[in-house]
Amino acid sequence: MCTDENQIELDRIAEEFASAIRCGETPTIEEYLDRYPDPSGQLTALLSSVAMIEALKGGTSKEHSNLADSIDFAELEDYVIVREIGRGGMGIVFEAIHKSLDRRVALKFLASHLLSEAKQFARFRLEARAAARLRHPNIVPVFGVGSAAQQHYIVMDYIDGTSLRNLLASSADEQPPIEVPNLGTQHYFDWVAQHGATLCSALESAHAQGVLHRDVKPANLLIDRRGELWIVDFGLAKLAEHSNTATGEVIGTPQYMAPESFEGVYDVRSEVYCIGLTLFELLVRRPAIEGKNTADTIRQAIVGVKQTPRQMDSKIPRDLETIVLKALSREPAARYHSADELGNDLQRYLGHQPIAARRTRILERMIRWTRREPVIASLTLSSFALLAALAIVSAVGYYGTHSALATAQSAKQAAEQSLELKIAALTAADEQRTRAEKNLQVALSAFTEIVENIAGRGIEVDADVLGEVTDTTAPSVSPQDAVLLQSLLGFFDQLAANNDEELLSESAVAAQRAAEIYTSLGELQHAERAFSEARNRYHRLCELHPDDTTFILSQADVLNELAVIAGLRGELAQAKQLFIDTRDLLHASDPAMELADGIFQLARAHRLFASVGSRSGLDHAMLQSSLAGSSLQRHHWIKRLRTEWDLDAIETAIVLLNSLVEESPADHRYRAELARAYRTKAEVAWRAKTRAESETAVRRSIELFEDLLAENRGSAAIRYELATTLLCTETLGFNQMVRAARADELCRTLLESSPTLPRYQSLKARSLQNLARLQLKIENWDVAEAYLKQVEAIYASLRGNFPEVDVYETQHAQVVESIADIYVAQGRTDAALEYLEQILRRTPPRLRSGLSPAAAIQYQRTRAKLNKLRDRSSSEVNATEPE
């Protein structure tokens, strides 16, 4: 039982405990429990919370000011302190005389928070010992470690000189403490390259001995009076790493960290990157990464260096810039693989020899596609040349749309001839018939190839690597490609319309392709019809050939595609039925379930089912209010939405996909689908208010996509997916800033490559909405409003161009509502009303038949809001007017 007195007493003990901590004492919970018995465990919980908050609060600033005071120099028997040389994140450095050896040394006292635990101290000794073993003319020798009065210190050689950081900080007219060539001269650039080469050789020798520096930056590089370069603080940065983090070795100063270090990855190549940062800074006399505050710096550091040295100073030699930029590649694999390689290139530059680094060739990526045409290459029919030409021309893309179109037309004619021949040949001789059949198959597979390539163009050429990449948002093609696709559509439609049993499998494939084209074009109703057609054909094929698993798998694939569309339209009841059909279909066939593809389709079905809610464009609040039993509940379909079902389904999908990934870790399709499944889980868990679970799932999804991105460099599909995950929940706090920045960056890269792609436009809208949310949290109304107005414009244009994609309609209405909400929050009811009315006039909701339930619900909600505002506005008017 907890009486009031009991509470007050507990509070008093907590207050005592907290003030002891604030006074710099280190009280332990155990001590307190000895003094105050705690049968209920309340005190333990209370004190552990106090300890946690106070520990988090205890920042470096206090530590530092206390450090200098707390060092009791009297205890340093063998050393006489001469002066303080400097201080930094790690502690304070003093110049001192080692009395018995009569030599000048530098004593580095470490900030006590770095070594508060015995375990950390043991590790510190170990690190210091490793550093002490390093022998190199440019590495500052470490003599040993010691401790006095609870303070630990490192004894190292005293270097009479200054750090590069100080050198950079000294202004132009100030006499630098050591001689440096005039800035901006060839002599200066050579001086930078020379020191860079020395730095590389010293680091290479440490790397060869298995020691990483972990904090290469100008502050840790000294120049002595003779102009020699020295490296200090080997491995010390590792101390700053908290022993209790799971993130691994994330250490260093954000300004001088490689992008991958933020994910806990650190190796020789990260060190190469840091050398690159240092060289960059020396060349342009400004840090390569410079943020307005810590968060901004981290954001920039994660994105990587955007500027090139010559943009800031055109006198910098081009070769030197090329070397620095190679070292600064965002992807570790694109950098020099060792400090030595970098050093050698610097030497080549100094010796006026051609350097090994070369500028990235933009065309390189374009050519990649032409390497994959094995299907076509293996065929030898008359129409092959045409088809191959068509495939290649269309894949190379925008440069030759017209000629591609012309080629496509003639290829189509050839294929149609084959079709006619085949039909005619049904009654004719076998030989002719076989030939026509082959021709038709070639046409089909070549066209399929083209469709896949075009559908995959926005997402580059990895459609075949990743499988279903055109997930959540249609449409995904540029207007030029749309013309090309439409010209093929006629062929597919014609073939699909053929009811001949002999052509059943071809017409099924054709219907499926046609449906895919319609999806790409954003014509969802046509797509749905074509997919249903394909589904019927495959169903019939399954009946005719019960043992052929390919037809079962194709049917499952088509069912899943239908579920994708149902999700886009917010047809929850239909989505559920499709899910059940797919599941029953696959469960009924043991041979299909033995295949990885069978399991994959089953997992997809589960994920699509679980994600219907989020894919329909309904926001969380709306789903929630619907579930909570508001007036919207009379829509019977929404009653069916049970978060628990979704959770069960997505768990199943994750288990299945994990087993697939375990079996074939190299298959990117499975990993991408697993990452999507985690994303869905995050969304569902967020809705279920289990935030921690949601966060874990988001992280898992990010990890998987980041890995995929690292392996498929430049893959737009994965970029897109990763950004979608980054934006999938409204995470709170620090991570949100980092994620928002990453998403924004990904989005920008994607739009740079394909500015008109609707899919990226809508991604950008989501990214802006996320940024607006951050601003709203701090009630930065104006900025949030500006962001949301941009979002409104994007959705307004999308819904205009793709009237059948109801998600755009729904999302447009949502953002309009959010903007009105901002006005209301500021007490500007009239402005909100005016805005809503104006927008509704400009873009009236489309109340056509077949409007998806999600859009209908959103429409109702907007109307309700408008009416409420009208009521409020008129009552305000009444209140101010005297009767």
Binding site: D4, D11, T60, V250, I251, G252, T294, R691, F734, E779
Partner: protein, 208 residues
């Protein structure tokens, strides 16, 4: 007013301060200096910490307090520390208004110290305070997870409970002072505090 030597004892100094002694104010102010600084650090928006230091605000607060000393003598039930805290709060609003005018429409809502009620920005301020303290990224990243968990936990709490924690741990007020600021009974404040901290412990374990 009074030119006699003011006692260095805080209680006596407060009494003299209520009588309008500027010397007494100096003694009382320096007595509470570090605690006031803690409040400023906590409530000062991270966007302007580069332009305005906590010492600047302290100094200005002192001048403002001296100008309004008369008010203090009228508020006989107001403890000196809480009165100074109000002055600091007012000054913080001025500073924010001055520096963030372009960015914000209603500064008062953003930074207002909870006088009788809760600030809607407390959990954000806590996160900013925690994240802003560490200079090396190692610390930022290592703490980020914990800070984020803490923020999530705080967000799930009742407004008053959250404010109680903020006042007790980030402004470092005592229970009595907290109760007074929030306008609730000290026993009730204690109860809320113990309950909120127990919940924090529980939620943090759940997150781990």
């Amino acid at each position: 007013m009074s030119d006699s030597k003011v006692s260095a004892d805080p209680d006596e100094a407060v009494a003299a301060m209520r009588d309008g002694s500027a010397d007494a104010l100096a003694i009382v102010f320096s007595h509470y200096r570090e605690r006031l600084r803690q409040i400023i650090r906590f409530r000062l928006d991270y966007r302007i910490t580069r332009r305005v230091s906590d010492s600047d605000v302290l100094q200005e607060s002192y001048i403002a307090a001296a100008k309004r000393l008369e008010q203090f003598s009228q508020q006989t039930d107001m403890p000196a520390f809480l009165w100074l805290r109000l002055i600091v709060g007012q000054l913080l609003i001025d500073v924010h208004r001055q520096h963030l005018q372009a960015e914000m429409r209603d500064v008062r809502r953003e930074v207002a110290l909870p006088a009788n009620g809760c600030s809607p920005h407390t959990s954000l301020a806590i996160a900013a305070q925690l994240a802003g303290q560490a200079t090396a990224v190692s610390e930022v990243v290592a703490r980020a997870e914990l800070i984020e968990k803490l923020e999530l936990t705080l967000n799930e709490m009742d407004d008053i409970d959250r404010e109680v924690i903020a006042l007790r741990h980030f402004e470092e007020l005592t229970n009595i002072e907290t109760a007074k600021v929030l306008g609730i009974d000290p026993a009730a404040a204690s109860k809320r505090y113990v309950r909120a901290m127990a919940r924090l412990a529980q939620l943090m374990t759940a997150f781990n």
